[in-house]
Amino acid sequence: MSRTVADAIVACLKQEGVEVIFGIPGEENIRLVMALEGSGIRFILTRHEQAAAFMADMYGRLTGRAGVCTATLGPGAINLLLGVADATTDSTPLVALTAQVGLNRIYRESHQSVDLVAMFRPVTKWADIVLTPQSVPEMVRKAFSLACSERPGATYLAIPQDIEAAPAPPRLHTPARNALPRSRPRRRPHRRGRDTPEDCETTRHSRRTRCRPCTRIGCARKAVGSPERARRDDIHGQGGHT
């Protein structure tokens, strides 16, 4: 069987270091779920999408890496919303992937079609729809990068049914795992142990003091205390975007 966009998405998830995905397959994302077979990524089949999102939520909170959940379009996606919102409001990295009706019918009144991007936008840091196979590596990278960078939270990608089933372009450029989305400023690498009060600079217009921005993924909030500090450095090594 030739390589599809679903396979390309799974390759991107592997590139992100995803080890487990929580969710329920539906008619419109069967290729994605099938592409996970043999990928090394564990699929935890749940009995409700809301629960899948909560599982990804707590997984993300504890590991500092984005928990991943998936569902089909319409009802499946709507059921994910609560856990996705919980991740964002508790600054937890999470990536939600759902199916959407195909681009060949999304523009008209169409079976099971609701505007999922509009629905997820208020409860995520970024919500978008994959409009072309070529965009998959960049959009998946952006979803993970934004979810994990401060302030951590959830991101959402809708994958139209016909895009998922389309052939993957022969030479898909996969961005490196530390590539930053262009919309965000590239920051200087963080050098451990070199921040001193002298490094802080006071802005001219306020009394606020701005130290060198934190560039590690995971909630810095979690990082007070020695075991967490050690783990934070692990996180930095695995998925930091400095």
Binding site: F22, L45, R47, L62, D86
Partner: protein
């Protein structure tokens, strides 16, 4: 969310804020002239609760800037890696002597007394303080407990002594019900080898208990302790506090032991105060999924409000 970042046995720890009434910790904020928020996110807890008159100096430290809030206008806002910022501040400031005050030892003793009294309480249904004390006695410092939203969260957040970050997990920004049972499955996969206990009310349990099947099928050691009172207990509490009566909060439950058993889980009903601790120990030690249910005496809820009210007047 930060519960455990400063260990509760640290001499300067005063516990967790966020309870709906003026709780022990609030007395410290009442007296403070400066509040330093470290990793504080405004969505978790309104700053008006700790700075009602907008008269305290504020230092805010996080890796992103806080939202604009009349009660939280930082005099200094540091956007930085938190650990590095604290290291830098400590290096710059050196050791400081903090003069003793009257309120801090009082807060610590009130909290310790409440928990100790709970530990020794053998009544049935169990006092919430007793359940909290027994969970703490059974779990190691690095084990993880998820406290679901509801009256359970109030008791766990207030009283559960937490010694390490990310070992007492709650939903705070959104404070959703029913996250903790599936959340415990996610936690077990995130931290293999650690013991994970999900604790929740009967309301939350029946909202996502279908995932017992997921845990059994995927061979994930899900451990659940249900606090059973046959009502949406936190809402009843709030109604009783503000409206002095309650309505439309009571329900009936299926037999949770039979229900869990029908999934193939180990299931237990706690029938006395003395029964809780050995049952928790057994459930946490055995392989597979274990569901426990314990009847809780939520008449303690309004007694707590009365006690805190008296304390507010006295102080």
């Amino acid at each position: 969310m930060g519960k455990g970042v400063i260990p509760d046995d640290h001499p300067n720890a005063l516990g967790v804020i966020g309870f709906m009434a003026h709780d022990y910790e609030n007395f410290a904020f009442d007296q403070a002239d400066l509040i330093m928020g470290v990793g504080y996110e405004l969505q978790e807890f309104s700053p008006a609760r700790i700075n009602p008159d907008h008269d305290k100096s504020i230092i805010h430290l996080h890796c992103f800037a806080p939202d604009i809030d009349a009660a939280w206008q930082p005099d200094i806002s540091i956007e930085s890696d938190i650990v590095d910022a604290i290291d830098a501040l400590l290096a710059a400031l050196g050791p400081r002597h903090v003069p003793p005050n009257r309120v801090e030892p009082l807060i610590r003793s009130l909290r310790a007394h409440e928990l100790r009294k709970g530990e020794e309480d053998d009544s049935f249904p169990l006092k919430p303080q007793r359940i909290v004390a027994d969970i703490r006695a059974v779990l190691e410092a690095d084990d993880i407990v998820l406290a679901d939203t509801g009256a359970v969260k109030m008791w766990m957040a207030r009283l559960y002594p937490t010694q390490a970050p990310l070992t007492c997990l709650m939903s705070n920004g959104l404070s959703t019900m029913a996250f903790s049972l599936p959340g415990a499955i996610g936690a077990a996969l995130a931290c293999p080898g650690k013991r994970v206990l999900s604790t929740m009310g009967d309301g939350s349990f029946l909202m996502n208990s279908q995932e017992i099947e997921t845990a059994i099928r995927e061979n994930i050691p899900l451990k659940v302790l249900i606090w059973e009172d046959g009502s949406y207990g936190l809402i009843k509490w709030k109604m009783d506090m503000e409206l002095h009566r309650h309505a439309h909060v009571d329900f009936t439950n299926p037999d949770f032991v039979a229900y869990a058993h029908s999934f193939g889980a180990n299931s237990y009903r706690i029938t006395s105060a003395a029964d809780l601790r050995p049952t928790l120990e057994k459930a946490l030690a055995e392989p597979g999924v274990s569901i426990m249910t314990v009847a809780v005496d939520y008449s303690e809820n309004m007694k707590l409000i009365d006690r805190l009210g008296d304390l507010t007047i006295a102080l």
